[in-house]
């Protein structure tokens, strides 16, 4: 278990580093879409909930899992949808290169 903890810490540390490096460079123009995109990505927690529903190990875990899947899926769908809607609005006045 201890080793899984350390493994996890390695991954967390590296991913946190990437997060800082990458997000610091997102143009302020796109800070609103950034919020909705990270929101959608974070809803990956749905995978944990899917397993709970699918395994049906107890009634409690099944019911809580169902609610969790619904909540997270709405974030996935809504998050990607609104991000893309916003981004489609951003247009340059210069003609784009072919």
């Amino acid at each position: 278990m201890g080793s899984a903890l350390i493994d996890g810490l390695f991954v967390f540390m590296l991913a946190g580093f990437i997060g800082f490096e990458v997000i610091r460079r997102v143009s302020p123009l796109l800070h609103t879409p950034l919020m909705s995109l990270t929101n959608a990505l974070d809803a990956i927690a749905v995978v944990g909930a899917i397993v709970l529903v699918g395994e049906h190990k107890s009634n409690l875990s099944f019911i809580l899992g169902m609610i969790a899947v619904v909540a997270a899926t709405s974030n996935v769908v809504g998050g990607f949808l609104i991000t893309d809607r916003m981004l489609r609005m951003f247009k340059s006045s210069r003609p784009t290169k072919p």
């Binding site: 990458v22 800070h31 950034l34 919020m35 749905v46 969790a68 619904v70 340059s92």
Partner: protein, 465 residues
């Protein structure tokens, strides 16, 4: 059988690895408008792969209910993805609440499935997960309520409030420590959910509606951290990565906002800043301001060579962005060079103005960041301020006693002529007077942003006939 099982397990892991790569690329590509939509696509593919991989999970016996839940969730998600652009702040808060709800429920299930057989480190991570997630849940709901104006925007404060709040949080932590030592005490677990739920409410009560964006970002960060903690519990690297990315994103955005407002985190969380609003407002009636009518304003704009438009919260409230776009078109057609100066905290959300103007089809290369445009104001004929206030207040540069002293502002007062569209002499979010309005070269254009801009556009159209 075992070989097949192991093979399956490995395939799932590989799908998760690919999904992680795609998530990182997704954020990387979001950094510039030209690649941003590719970023969304990468995120979507990653998500599909991850969910597909999860469905291969060996323990899954029942696909029907999963399908039902996915369909239900999508049904809620679609309208949430189609809200008006002006409702984006509360939508974001609501989706944090949903995300945190999911993490709370999964954490709770995991605890009851595993108790009393929970190793200490696992219990510690699990406690962190559910505490963070449940306070994020109610906190985000409160924030959404304040932003949607279902709840009172005004901060509610009383003496010893911080003491009470931190006391409540301390209860949750004590229970968590006890559970780490005695993971079998499952009757205590609900306390660790309910107490942070209460804390989430209490935490938002003293914060003004206008401080919500910073709080939302911070809650974003908490949501990410709790998802990462869930990744530790489920031993899922993909979750850890997504959580860490989300956590750092929220954190960075809150830092950017605090810096642009020249305030500290503590000040936002405990300062009840919005309260000042009432106190200083309405004074200084003796000073003289000059105002102008739409046709005078149209004349000045038509005669200018270079115009810089400074949009602010008032433009968002009035939903004036489409009219502003018409004004941009009318002036551009007459050969006037029109650009937009976007302050990092104009409006009520990072990037708020950019999204609104993009919605109205203003080309994004006309939207200038503060640092890039500030040196151009002295060569600007007209600075047209539309519903912005604090972000143009020169007191931030000069008046050491001002609460916004030191906050970087748009140097609008250096333009040859300044025109300000707002409804009254009332102050903006910071609740303070703006010396800009009393300058000789400033003209106040009193009225609602949308209708005033509309009148200017009509005048300009009339003039061309």
């Amino acid at each position: 059988m075992t070989a097949e099982f192991a093979g399956n397990q490995q395939l799932i892991e590989i799908l998760y690895l690919v999904a992680s790569v795609l998530f990182i690329l997704s954020l990387k590509w979001l950094s510039a408008p030209s690649t941003a939509r590719r970023g969304v696509l990468a995120g979507e593919i990653g998500m599909v792969l991850a969910i597909a991989g999860t469905l291969l999970h060996h323990g899954i016996v029942d696909y029907k209910w999963i399908a039902i839940a996915l369909v239900l969730g999508s049904g809620i998600g679609v309208p949430l993805g189609l809200v008006q652009m002006t409702a984006v702040p509360q939508r974001t808060a609501l989706s944090h609440a949903f995300g945190a709800l999911c993490v709370t429920l999964v954490g709770t299930s995991e605890f009851y499935l595993r108790t009393p057989d929970v190793p200490r480190f696992m219990m510690a991570v699990l406690s962190m997960e559910v505490i963070l997630a449940s306070l994020t849940f109610t906190g985000s709901l409160m924030a959404a309520g304040k932003l949607q104006e279902v709840l009172p925007q005004r901060p509610i404060t009383y003496r010893g409030q911080n003491f009470v709040n931190l006391g409540v949080l301390a209860i949750a932590i004590v229970v968590a420590v006890f559970l780490v030592l005695h993971p079998g005490a499952k009757e205590l677990f609900p306390i660790m959910i309910v107490v942070p739920l209460i804390f989430g409410v209490l935490m938002i009560v003293p914060i003004g509606g206008a401080d919500m964006p910073t709080v939302i970002s911070l809650l974003n960060s908490y949501a990410g951290l709790s998802a990462a903690a869930m990744g530790f519990v489920l031993n899922s690297k993909l979750l850890i990565i997504a959580g860490a990315l989300d956590g750092s994103s929220g954190f960075i955005l809150s830092v950017i906002m605090s810096k642009a407002m020249n305030r500290s985190f503590t000040n936002v969380l405990f300062g009840a800043f919005g309260q000042v609003q009432a106190s200083t407002a309405g004074a200084k009636e003796d000073k003289v301001v000059r105002s102008a009518t739409p046709d005078e304003a149209a004349g000045i704009l038509a005669a200018a060579n270079r115009v810089v438009v400074v949009p602010g919260y008032g433009m968002a409230v009035a939903q004036a962005q489409h009219k502003v776009r018409e004004l941009y078109d009318a002036l551009t057609k007459r050969g006037v060079d029109v650009r937009f100066a976007i302050h990092p905290v104009a409006g009520r959300m990072p990037g708020h103005m950019n999204v609104l103007l993009a919605e109205a089809d203003v080309p994004y290369d006309k939207l200038m960041e503060m640092d890039d445009i500030n040196s151009d104001f002295p060569q600007t004929d007209v600075a047209l301020v539309i519903g912005a206030n604090d972000v143009t207040n020169p007191a931030a540069r000069t008046d050491q006693s001002s609460p916004i002293f030191g906050m970087p502002i748009l140097d609008v007062d250096k333009a040859r002529t300044v025109m300000v569209i707002k409804r009254s002499m009332n102050p903006g979010f910071a609740g303070i007077d703006n010396p800009l309005y009393y300058l000789d070269r400033t003209l106040m254009l009193f009225g609602d942003a949308k209708s005033f801009v509309n009148s200017i556009v009509h005048e300009l159209a009339g003039n061309t006939h």
